[in-house]
Symmetry: C2
Subunit: 250 residues, 2 copies
């Protein structure tokens, strides 16, 4: 089985993600080369996407992601009750701590950023809502491994080393996960991005982990001695979100 071929729809979606990853509008030939599609195929797929507004083509034949994607993407966030309930607490936290605070959740075995409020520092973390984060080298990843390992899938094989401090051995990660479980929070001190420190706590609804909130900033601002203060604030906010979540419907 030589890697089953993607269908028509999948190719079209691949074009969307490619346009998303490119900073500038792309031409048909360029897209075809990047995704290994004949020019005419790329052209036809782009025409279909353009008819529905998912891409926009200028008069020169360059294409870029279209406004139709905005409505669809924002709709996903509006639909999620956790995002709605977390918005206020996130703003409070960012105000109090002065650093960037964000909300994450696991979907399809991966972890994505669902919302954020940026801090006030000249040097500050700026996660992108909708993007994924690795599992083995982040604070929220460790939390999921601790509280809901069935919701995330750690890549098999060797784990990627992002920085000198990245934990790449399973035994190291196991130890960190156990620590996260017993302490109730997880840390990531420059294990993913040099200079970046993240402290995260889980949002637990009746023992089930439905997400995590975290504070992120430069290592100088989130020193180890300050950790208890950040953790306390995060835990309070997470409890508030979980409480409102329990009130809502189920």
């Amino acid at each position: 089985m030589p890697l089953e071929a993607p269908g028509t729809v999948e190719k079209a979606i691949d074009i969307l993600f490619h346009l998303h990853s490119e900073p500038a509008p792309c031409g048909v030939t360029q897209i075809g080369r990047a995704l290994d599609l004949p020019k005419s195929t790329a052209h036809r797929l782009l025409a279909s996407l353009a008819r529905r507004g998912l891409v926009e083509g200028d008069e020169r034949g360059r294409y870029r992601p279209g406004l139709g994607l905005v409505a669809l993407g924002l709709g996903v966030l509006d639909r999620d009750p956790v995002v709605a309930l977390a918005r206020g607490p996130l703003e409070d936290l960012a105000e109090r701590l002065g650093e960037t605070v964000f909300l994450t959740a696991a979907r399809r075995g991966r972890i994505a950023v669902l919302d954020k409020v940026e801090g006030r520092g000249f040097l500050r973390a700026t996660p992108r809502v909708g993007e994924e984060v690795p599992i083995h080298s982040t604070a929220v990843g460790k939390l999921y491994l601790a509280h809901a390992p069935e919701l995330v899938s750690l890549p098999s094989g060797t784990l990627r080393r992002f920085t000198p401090r990245t934990l790449t051995q399973r035994s190291q990660i196991e130890r960190a996960v156990k620590e996260a479980l017993s302490r109730g929070y997880a840390e990531n001190r420059e294990e993913w991005i040099p200079g970046l420190v993240v402290i995260a706590v889980p949002i637990l609804r009746s023992r089930q982990m439905v997400g995590a909130i975290a504070v992120a900033g430069p290592s100088a601002s989130l020193a180890k001695t300050d950790t208890p203060r950040s953790v306390a604030a995060l835990v309070r906010a997470a409890a508030r979100i979980a409480g409102q979540l329990a009130g809502k419907s189920q």
Copy 2:
């Protein structure tokens, strides 16, 4: 020519928009009925969409929009320089005026909301980022008809009457557009939604209209006598955005 049939990709996109418009997750049969697709076709298209994360299916076979859409949708906004530059002024305006302020732009002949900052009132306007607004019955629509009629396409035939105050005759609209052009701003007093008043000004970069910012609120809060104050604040903000826009690149 009996209304050419949509291709595979278009059908898949139609499914995305249908899921977006439904508040609850949908089953295969339900989607098939709504879009006139056989069950098996809907199922296969959903499988393709799910493989790329644009939809998520639960264990019961219900499908809903997926997280992949978030990254794509937010990416569109990040890419747009007007959105980035308008963010600050929008927040200032919302703070000063106390009402909801939003940014719109024309794409593909239609007008969409690109960003918003909501006001503080218990009763306040809550536009949805990414959604479209009508042209003939909104303040921003009149602005586009005045400054860049080639960018928007007024529907042919009779214009839809949303409220008793909606202008449905071309001559009425022409007069309103001329007024908007001469005064530099446009108003919409309950012409689209009962009780909703909007005041909008264009963002002009070297005589070209690249968007509009507007303040929206209940008619009681945006009385006619207050209009000059709102207009002045909006005009200042629009000029600031346009100025920074001129500085950036071209």
